[in-house]
């Protein structure tokens, strides 16, 4: 059984972080498991933690008319599920559901935010890495807005 530090070090966002930074973050981390169709978080709930997927597949769903849902993204091994913890009002805008049996490391958001306030150096490095993941997702979402597989209308 790997310890938390080892699990964290396998995550791309924490690679080559340096032992002291690592210990700081590890203090906010917990190991979690989700069964098939279990929810990691739900729309409207406080965004008090985020997840680094170790193994499995998580669907991010947008709530639509009459509660129907649309999967707009999936998160798999080595990726981050949950970004709303970074920006006020710290509330989830999506549902996150485990499509497969999923193991993840959860990071307590207020714990991490506090530690980043105390050690801005750590905060800056983490922000850079999380921003990179955010940017990838945003760009991918923009490309999908171009509806490349649809038949273009005669414009």
């Amino acid at each position: 059984m790997k310890d938390l530090t080892q699990l964290l070090s396998e995550q791309p966002i924490f690679s080559d972080l340096g032992n002291d930074m690592f210990a700081l973050v590890a203090g906010c981390a917990h190991n979690e498991h989700f069964g098939v169709d279990e929810y990691l978080f739900r729309t409207g709930e406080p965004a008090d933690r985020f997840f680094l997927v170790r193994r499995g597949l998580v669907a991010l769903e947008l709530v639509r008319t009459a509660g129907s849902r649309l999967i707009v993204d999936t998160v798999s091994t080595g990726e981050i599920a949950g970004l709303s913890w970074l920006v006020p009002p710290y509330r989830w805008n999506l549902d996150a559901r485990a499509v497969e049996e999923t193991s993840a490391v959860s990071i307590d958001a207020s714990c991490l935010r506090r530690k980043c306030d105390d050690e801005p150096r750590v905060g800056y490095v983490l922000l850079q890495r999380v921003s990179s993941a955010m940017y990838q997702r945003m760009h991918a979402a923009r490309v999908r807005m171009a509806d490349v597989y649809g038949v273009p209308a005669n414009d």
């Binding site: 669907a59 999967i71 993204d73 999936t74 999908r144 171009a146 490349v148 597989y149």
Partner: protein
Amino acid sequence: MTDTAAPTRTELARELGEPMLPRPYVVQQTKRETADTATLSLASLDGVPTPFAPGQFTVVGRPGWGEVPISISGDPAHPDHLEHTVRAVGDASRALVSARPGDTLLLRGPYGVGWDVADGVGGNVVIVAGGIGLAPLRPALLQILAHRPRYRRVFLVYGARAPHEMLFTRQLEHWRGRFDIEVAVTVDAATPEWRGHVGLVTSVLPRSYLDPDATLALVCGPEIMMRIAADALVTAGLRPDRVKVSLERSMKCGIGVCGHCQLRELFVCLDGPVFRYDRVAALMTAREL
């Protein structure tokens, strides 16, 4: 300049042929793939098989309904049945999609430079398909699977708009079940019944490659998807001259004489439609070229 011993008109016609003359083919089978796409299986009326290379296309149409270039989507080991997967986007393609078994179509070809799958022998092959782009790649994959021991790892990455817009679903399941090919499928968005990935094809590409130098990538789909996938593959270490894309331009003749398909100095129908990415990357982003 005249030559008193010139051949007669008939002799000359026989010697030269007429490249624009189509041949009759009979629809043997049709299969509806999605709401606007169907796969037709054709056999030449005279029973002569039509050998083709994966990635080639024919120019085909219903009599009186024009003709359009369509990639061959079938198994190159069975040239007696020419499969074409057609999407209804205009009058000619709509007429093809609504063809019934027994109908006669007129066909020219096969034409074009194909994937040249043998280029990947001895190494890994990554096949990246987007939407209807899976159709011209299917012959390549079938050819690889028919000679599986010649290749190392084989990946199929397929992105579609939604689960109900995927092609060859039964065959996809079959490929997924095989141990000698790694299949990853993703869609742009899906309802919760979907148990797979949602995101761009790049999100399910292999993260890294053993021997990227010895890896061949075949990419087909809408141009923006091909560019993004090709760039991601090159970033992951593949050589740009070992990433191939299949381009599409307005085509009338399919044989390089009408001029419509030109992409600067390239005739997409003659020099392509399959091109090495390093050759066409800059041309693909040029405005209105």
